[in-house]
Symmetry: C2
Subunit: 338 residues, 2 copies
């Protein structure tokens, strides 16, 4: 147990963060200084329903407190980040884009009843933005735009140090900025949305198309060999490894992915003129092979000289950004407007 | 002289608005209730330089006051709307997109020195948004997006009842939202920007392309006959007249124009989730032939059911929106944060 935790008997200085993802649900104890103390993971596919999810969460919270010798009184509250449409003021998950069975779930009241702890829920990109604002790359900035790159492309807009939610809490759907009004169909009903080019599976699909078009002996390809010669095993992580080893095909995929993102960022510069961008999520871990072309395109297409210099930074909290963000979100909800 | 003006000896209840346009500069006296008392127009092309502009303005201000039997003491201040990049906090016009010779002009300090009246300057779309917010379609709304459709496509974003300017005052460039990243080149350096499809001259160019492709006797075309059979005389106003008379070609042009605008509005719904949109500027006067397809496309492409219902309204202050907006902008700068 570290020093920060020893002070917990006197004031609630630990918060619980819950990061609901399409692949796994992470639950963690986070100090008010933004340090992740311990966490648990559950496979999303094994959670049968929102009711089952509540049972698991309740058990997990008790287990985390017990294993850290903490009482409930030492917990300030619970914050949840959910990947979809969240009705923040009413604490209701309206719909989760990539997790079926969630519709109009009053998660906040249910979780408060089950655990006896004050709870708050918001969109996953919004809670990540709060984490970065307080403990990450957003420190010292009042106006910025956050992107999370993964299965979907999430977004959050911070204005005057607070989340901008819009009239119905729907703001920030950066993944559904249209880049080509005649482009490929998107699940949302529009065409040529950003997510349709840079969402996880579309990055992979691009790599597969390039592999198919490859001349010469395919088995010598670095990307394929990293995926045990099984195209269905290619992930953005493997694509990033292949690019790091100089695989031309993988570098091309990242260059194109970065270009699409750069187009969207240039539009956001023209529209919102943020102080900076903060880019997180699994896909962002690809690093400079993604960020270099993204920055090049954004700077080339933004219309104003000052706008062209808008910094595009990687999220600092990395793979725990969602978890730390969710816990920090609960803290900000309890202590100030969020 | 109306009743409102008779009270002016006791308090400054009149403001001067200056609307700099690519075609003409309008100067007017506006009451604090938003009524335009009288105005003067000057052809922009006949104004040789910013210095010449200042002389004209100074004379115009004196003439307007004299003809309305008003003293300088009865004027609260001067507001200017300029079509381009304006450095609002420093009162400097950085660059005007369609008017050459304006670069880093400290218009506020110059105008204050010349007239002795407190002056303020902002982007033309921003001052129009302030006019609509206080006296027009924006009354009762705190979060909305304004578009001005003319030679260029301007935009303004109102958040919590105030203009959102961004980190460097560059926010709101809705005309340079990219609708097709492989589309036609735009003057800003990007491709397929909204303005490249719905700016005045691109609407006309679309009509001319359709006229050229027309089978049958061209002289019987309603649009051409309204333009005295001179294609170079076609304006958006004439295109709107022809559409009102049922000209199929003109209706097609407006349908396409509305579609492009609707695509941009759907992206703005997804990004900003505003309470409503307010659309002004000369091109917006086309009315339902433009607004119907715009509303259809925006509702079809916005990703959320609630977002699909976002009202798209015509600006209320019509052709004097810029003038009344500029004067009202001065009022809000003097009386509260703007």
């Amino acid at each position: 147990m570290n020093h920060e935790l020893r002070t917990l008997n006197h004031e609630p200085s630990v918060y619980i963060g819950i990061d609901i993802g399409a692949t796994e649900v992470k639950t963690g104890l986070v100090t008010r200084q933004g340090t992740l103390v311990s966490k648990e993971r559950h496979e999303t596919a094994k959670i049968a329903s929102p009711a089952h999810f509540l049972d698991i969460l309740n058990e997990t919270v008790h287990r985390l407190l017990q294993s850290n010798a903490l009482s409930k009184q030492s917990v300030g509250g619970i914050g949840i980040g959910a990947p979809g449409w969240v009705d923040y003021p009413h604490g209701i998950v309206r719909e989760l884009t990539n997790i079926p069975g969630w519709r109009d779930v009053p998660i906040v009241i249910q979780l408060q009843t089950a655990t006896g702890l004050k709870s708050f829920v918001d969109n996953d990109a919004n809670v990540m933005a709060v984490g970065e604002l307080i403990h990450g790359a957003g420190r010292g900035h009042e106006n910025f735009v956050c992107l999370t790159l993964g299965t979907g492309v999430g977004g959050a807009i911070v204005v005057d140090g607070k989340l901008y939610r819009g009239a119905n809490g729907l703001a920030g759907e950066i993944g559904h900025m249209i880049l080509d009004l005649n482009g490929p169909e998107c699940a949302c009903g529009a065409r040529g949305c950003l997510e349709r080019y840079v969402g996880n599976r579309f990055i992979i699909a691009n790599a597969l198309r390039k592999l198919e078009a490859l001349a010469g002996p395919v088995h010598e390809n670095i990307l394929l060999s990293l995926a045990d010669n099984r195209p269905d095993k290619i992930t953005p992580k493997i694509l990033a490894e292949a690019a790091a080893r100089g695989d031309a095909l993988s570098l091309d995929v990242w260059r194109e992915t970065g270009h699409y993102l750069g187009v969207a960022l240039s539009v956001l510069v023209n529209l919102l003129n943020p102080e900076c961008f903060i880019i997180g999520g699994g896909v962002a871990r690809a690093g400079s092979v993604l960020f270099d072309p993204m920055r090049d395109t954004a700077a080339r297409l933004a219309m104003n000289q000052l706008g062209k210099t808008t910094p595009i930074m990687e999220a600092e909290l990395k793979e725990d950004a969602g978890l730390i963000g969710a816990a920090t979100f609960a803290l900000t909800c309890l202590e100030k407007a969020c």
